[in-house]
């Protein structure tokens, strides 16, 4: 099918960060997979943005958008609330089993405390269709960072810029990421700029 051209994203400097477009091999894999069929379901856990809506709907899929950082305890200082929330609140990613074809997690998992990220991964594992793909970004070093807004600006191109306030961000080694996704079928790593690892996980 002919996909609609993606809308041009404006240059962003929200949160003091410069927009940076980069090639994404993980996104390229997701695009390739999603082009194989129509009327699939994509979930974007970074919240709604026009580029990502155009990306998914342009290929004939539905896009569910929700910023899990907002859902799981609020945008500011949410760590304590997340610690005491081992299961996802109702209304968060309530899809039938195996009905989602791709999940764009971006960097959100590393901003969630252990119980929340574990509950989220459990839910994603349940709702992803066999063979479905999950894309996640991880910093290798622990620190305080602003979460990233990730816009799809091409079939294999992302524009990434920090948004909102700085918050604690857990660092993940390759081993820790492998352990995190051990219930999934396979995963592949791509090292990108700024110590950011792209991970593509197959259900």
């Amino acid at each position: 099918m002919n996909a609609r051209p993606l809308s041009k994203a404006p240059a962003h400097k929200a949160g003091g960060g410069e927009a940076a477009a980069r090639r994404s091999y993980a996104l390229e894999q997701i695009t390739e997979y999603l082009r194989g069929f129509e009327l699939g379901q994509v979930v974007d856990l970074g919240g709604a943005c026009q580029n990502n809506v155009d990306y998914a709907t342009g290929m004939g899929h539905r896009l569910y958008a929700e910023d899990v950082l907002l859902t799981l305890g609020g945008w500011q200082g949410a760590t304590e609330a997340q610690e005491s929330a081992p299961t996802l609140p109702s209304g968060c990613l309530e899809f039938p089993r195996g009905s989602v074809h791709a999940a764009l997690c971006w960097d959100r998992l590393q901003f969630l405390a252990e119980p929340a990220s574990a509950a989220l991964l459990e839910r994603l594992h349940r709702i992803l269709a066999p063979g479905g793909l999950l894309l996640a970004l991880f910093y290798s070093e622990q620190g305080a960072r602003a979460p990233l807004a990730c816009r799809v600006t091409g079939p294999a191109e992302l524009q990434i810029h920090p948004v909102g306030g700085v918050r604690p961000c857990r660092g993940y080694s390759t081993r820790a990421i492998e352990k995190m996704f051990q219930q999934f079928d396979s995963l592949k790593f791509y090292l990108t700029r700024e110590n950011l690892q792209e991970v593509i996980v197959r259900r």
Binding site: C49, V53, E66
Partner: protein, 178 residues
């Protein structure tokens, strides 16, 4: 010819149609055949298949919306279905599924839900039977009116045909002409 009344709201100019102001709270369903701006509170569904619905910055709507165009500056909790476009403006808050030919979500808008695009031909096909039914209803009303007019002594019944589109559904329409 007289022009339509014009109102200026803080989110733009309302060219025509009805306005539910900031202080109004309505519980119930709204159906109609003209553009509508909601800047108050509404608990209930809105059905304006041929027209534009605008939820103003103070507008809060809890219910399903079906319209030709939907523009949200305020808050909506419910599903939005537009045969043409849906625009969720900066600082608007929408929780619900969105179906439109052209969905637009501005930066800094909050949206949680599913987005699905409907193709132009699909939207037209969905509207066609309703339009045909409305036309048929209008035609039969015209025929009835003509026969009634022929039977009666010079009494005109043209008002029956004039309200054929929206009036035929027996819809309740809540609006206030500006």
């Amino acid at each position: 010819m007289a022009t339509q009344p014009t109102r200026t709201a803080d989110f733009g100019t309302v060219r025509s149609g009805a306005l539910i102001g900031k202080s109004l709270t309505i519980t119930g369903e709204i159906r109609g055949d003209e553009d509508l701006v909601i800047d108050g509170k509404l608990e209930g569904d809105v059905d304006l298949p041929q027209h534009r619905l605008t939820i103003g910055p103070s507008g809060v709507l809890q219910g399903k919306i079906r319209a030709r165009e939907i523009v949200v500056y305020g808050t909506v909790q419910g599903n939005l279905h537009a045969s043409e476009r849906v625009e969720i403006k900066k600082h608007a808050k929408v929780i619900g599924d969105l179906k439109a030919q052209r969905p637009v979500i501005e930066d800094e808008a909050y949206f949680k839900g599913n987005v699905e695009t409907v193709r132009a031909e699909t939207a037209k096909a969905a509207e066609a039977p309703k339009a045909a039914a409305a036309a048929a209803a209008a035609q039969s009303a015209t025929a009835a009116a003509q026969s009634a007019a022929a039977g009666a002594s010079g009494q005109a019944a043209s008002s029956t045909t004039a309200s054929g589109g929206a009036g035929g559904t027996g819809a309740r329409q809540e609006n206030r002409k500006g």
